[in-house]
Symmetry: C2
Subunit: 148 residues, 2 copies
Amino acid sequence: MSNEPVPVSADDLTREVVDLMAGLVALFHREYEEAAAARSLTGAQAKVLALLRRGPMPMRHIAQTMSCEPSNITGIVDRLETRGFVTREADPQDRRVKLVAATEAGQAATEELRKTLNFAREPLAALDEAERTTLRDLLQRILTGANL
Amino acid sequence: MSNEPVPVSADDLTREVVDLMAGLVALFHREYEEAAAARSLTGAQAKVLALLRRGPMPMRHIAQTMSCEPSNITGIVDRLETRGFVTREADPQDRRVKLVAATEAGQAATEELRKTLNFAREPLAALDEAERTTLRDLLQRILTGANL
DNA sequence: CATGAAAGGTTCAGGTTGTCAAATATTCAG
DNA sequence: CTGAATATTTGACAACCTGAACCTTTCATG
């Protein structure tokens, strides 16, 4: 039915990997959302809070990293601020920009969430250390290959 | 500082893999959302449509697969139906259930979207066939290890 | 120095996603 | 036939997200 050796199977392999990743994405997403909800955070709020682990960040930067409109971040940060997880301060260098910083409570929440993510334990337990290393290297190469 | 051989590094490895997966998930999510938006579908709509590739499905089943409330699916299917991507028909076996089926247009849309997903090409191009096979096997084991 | 363009945030209107509780219709057990 | 259980829908409400309009601050240019 075909004169070519393995072009179809190579394409199939790629598609198979993509499908598996879709499954992984769904699983990860579900777990993350649950872990956030357990702390009465939404997924978006948890993501913003996680971004601030390394220090304060301007709204604009948050929006870019989450690839959404800045006006969207305003609301999310509003809700985080209301609950005391985050503060907004004007940047002394450029008073147009607001620096968003996680409070102690905010830091604690992300740290706990990070620990609670049992995604690490359950599905990853199937792999031994060597395999996890291989997986890490493959993922690293995929991600550095991407434009971000 | 420690009597044990590699417990810390093993934990670090796991966390590293989890972080990489988070990056992968973010990347995949972004690409999927973009590909859907290019066909003026939302991510949720595209996901439901993709579920119907193998045939009609009751609302309840869609809700379970997407792990959300059935009432949520009602709205999504409403919008898909309005745009002619989907039909709702009562199941003859049990007239309580509504079978949702993709129309021709719906099938075409998912098929195109599936092809457009250049996630397959760009970041995965960094891996040769053997590596992709390894990745596939590792992902398969992770996903079958999970409870779904 | 003044003026106007550009950039960072916010606000507002409008649409989608999501939850929960209540209502409807159908099935099924007794 | 009655009542419990199931599948879906409806309505109220909150969060997320976009796009356009707006305000403030910065900065380049004349």
